[in-house]
């Protein structure tokens, strides 16, 4: 039966509005059917999301290792105590935070500016979307290879351009412990800006046009309109973008692994890099799990804030 037929049927008028959710749902005789529908996804959810989370929690209290099967001997809080007193753990946590501080403000502000400007342009929006958004869908391997090459010390594109401004090449952006993280942050800004850009563009379209027209009639300048209409109206998008960006920054791994491998020294080693090194290079699953749990707690805390914010925003909108 086609959709058109279904729409034209007089029968469809009968159910009217089923106010209670219960009534609008397909009845009790399908209880077993419901579980069959949930099962395929549920199995993978349990096996590869909830299960590993629980296993990570358990093994963080054991001396689990990749070289022996099973959990190993009980360690109590020893893995946590070790992590919390290790200098390189705190240094990795600091670098993760440092990366977050370097990337979140420009990612939010530059994306906002680009979106506001693009929204004002009458023709050729596709070009700006292409320019700003395309990098976002490229693999981290591609962007890292591109930026490592751009940052080649001495003769690379970056060094060539900054030398016009009289900056000495030195060890190169990624070769100097003081600037390596800045180099990674620049590549990341270029790579992921497009995500925030399209979120802001979507938000901009939801601002009623009449607001601007009314403001223009009252003699508001273009800047005044942005300051008193656009920025306040986009505050929900901004909060969302900031929280999403913080969560993404805390999970950073790819760019660091590919561009500096945590170096020079451990000057760019981040949390997930420390975890994989502890787990896969040192074969110390228990200790890696403890570090994972600590990072996990931080990320979930921010994700919870996000959910709460979303809910309260939705309630306000309703």
């Amino acid at each position: 039966m086609t959709t058109a037929e279904a729409v034209n049927r007089p029968a469809m008028a009968v159910p009217k509005k089923a106010s209670a959710r219960q009534r609008s749902m397909i009845g009790a005789r399908n209880r077993r059917g419901a579980w069959l529908f949930l099962a395929p996804f549920g199995i993978f959810y349990l096996a590869f999301l909830l299960g590993p989370t629980v296993w990570m929690l358990i093994s963080s209290f054991f001396n689990t290792s990749t070289v022996r099967p099973g959990l190993g001997s009980f360690a109590g809080f020893a893995n946590y105590a070790e992590m919390l007193t290790r200098a390189d753990f705190w240094s990795a946590m600091w670098h993760t935070l440092q990366f977050t501080i370097y990337t979140v403000p420009p990612l939010v502000m530059v994306a906002f500016v680009f979106a506001v400007l693009t929204n004002r342009v009458r023709r050729g929006q596709w070009f700006f979307r292409l320019a700003f958004f395309l990098p976002f869908i490229l693999p981290s391997a591609t962007i890292s290879l591109i930026w490592v090459f751009i940052f080649t010390p001495g003769s690379g594109l970056w060094a060539t351009i900054v030398s016009w401004f009289g900056v000495a090449p030195g060890a190169g952006v990624l070769g100097d412990p003081n600037t390596a993280m800045i180099g990674i942050a620049i590549a990341t800004l270029w790579w992921t800006l497009g995500f925030n850009f399209v979120l802001y563009l979507a938000g901009l379209q939801e601002i009623p046009r009449d607001l601007y027209e009314a403001a223009a009639v009252d003699g508001a300048t273009a800047w005044g309109q942005i300051r008193y209409i656009t920025i306040p109206m986009l505050s929900r998008t901004t909060t969302l973008v900031i929280l999403l960006q913080i969560i993404a920054s805390l999970k950073i791994f790819d760019q660091v692994y590919l561009m500096t491998a945590g170096g020079p020294g451990i000057s760019t080693q981040v949390a997930l890099g420390l975890i994989t090194n502890t787990g896969f290079t040192d074969n110390r699953i228990g200790a890696a799990s403890a570090a994972s749990v600590l990072l996990f707690i931080v990320i979930v805390a921010i994700a919870v804030i996000r959910q709460l914010f979303d809910r309260s925003a939705a309630r306000k909108a309703a």
Binding site: M1, I26, W55, I137, L145, T221, A222, Y257, I275
Partner: protein, 302 residues
């Protein structure tokens, strides 16, 4: 039918509507000057944003010898060559990497769409005990950062002997909880009257799901397929640790692994970077709208 509640309808306007605010008579001149200035600024930034990709492309079309001399030599060289691409294709590894990336991305996308839409259908349409608990688990799942689970997932795949198989890349990426959420939101917006009619004709729940709801969900299916495909294609962390056999590596992992052995062959390296991205660029050019809408939708709702 009215699709006002669907993600597509909501996302359409942000992307296509362009008209800037009309200004009153008094603000006309300053408004027009402002627009001209902003357009110029924007064009400059757009060019800046395109430079890294274009520079990589230019380098990949140079000789390795020219590329090794640096940026000035690359930019002043006007003899493009496909030498690096030919070298990569002849070396052969890249074919295996494309195969691995293609197979894992396609299978994961197909299974994610099927399983996530089924779960979302149950949550949206079926009445069963434990509905609230299942929904709570979905919300909980959205908050779990799966990257942080790399160590236990590696152990688990080792325990069930799946390391160094495509399945080790596919299985852990299937439970993309956000997909269930996106499907559920879409299904909730489909008028129930359509199913009612099918039910009166004696259709079972599978039939309603497969022949009524799914055909109406093409836009959201397309969005989830593309987003999953791109996500799996681009994933580095998981395949990096679960695949150690060079013949099974996905393209980002393969490139990351051989990067060191390329030494000074910079043109070859950049050609590899371009080849890893090429299928996604083609995909973007074809499905621009779906990709942007999907990314926006998952960002706003996830």
């Amino acid at each position: 039918m009215s699709t006002s509640a669907t993600p597509r309808a909501r996302m359409k306007s942000p992307i296509s509507a362009a008209a800037p605010a009309r200004l009153g008579a008094s603000g006309k001149i300053s408004g027009r000057t402002f627009t001209t200035v902003t357009t110029i600024v924007l064009i400059v930034f757009a060019i800046v944003w395109l430079i890294p990709s274009l520079f990589a492309l230019k380098t990949s079309l140079s000789e390795n010898g020219t590329a090794a001399l640096g940026a000035t030599a690359i930019l002043s060289d006007w003899n493009p060559t496909l030498h690096s691409y030919a070298a990569l294709f002849n070396a052969g590894d890249i074919w295996n990497w494309y195969l691995a990336s293609g197979v894992t991305s396609v299978i994961t996308a197909a299974l994610t769409v099927l399983f996530a839409s089924m779960a979302a259908f149950a949550l949206s349409r079926l009445n069963f005990r434990g509905h609230n608990i299942v929904y709570l688990l979905v919300i909980l799942g959205i908050m779990i950062p799966s990257q942080v689970l790399i160590v236990p997932i590696f152990q688990e795949l080792g325990a069930i002997n799946l390391l160094n198989t495509y399945w080790s890349v596919i299985f852990p990426q299937i439970p993309a909880v956000i997909a269930v959420f996106i499907f559920k939101q879409f299904f909730d917006g489909i008028p129930r009257e359509l199913e009612e009619a099918a039910r009166i004709d004696g259709a079972g729940i599978w039939k309603i799901y497969w022949s009524v709801v799914m055909p109406l969900s093409r836009p959201v299916i397309a969005a989830v397929v593309i987003l999953t495909f791109v996500g799996v294609w681009n994933n580095l962390l998981l395949p990096l640790f679960v695949l150690s056999n060079p013949n099974l590596m996905t393209i980002p992992v393969g490139l990351a692994t051989v990067q060191g052995s390329f030494g000074q062959r910079y043109a070859d390296i950049q050609a590899g970077a371009v080849l890893a991205a090429l299928p996604l660029i083609i995909l973007y050019l074809i499905f621009q709208r779906q990709i942007v809408e999907g990314v926006t939708g998952s960002g706003l709702k996830g």
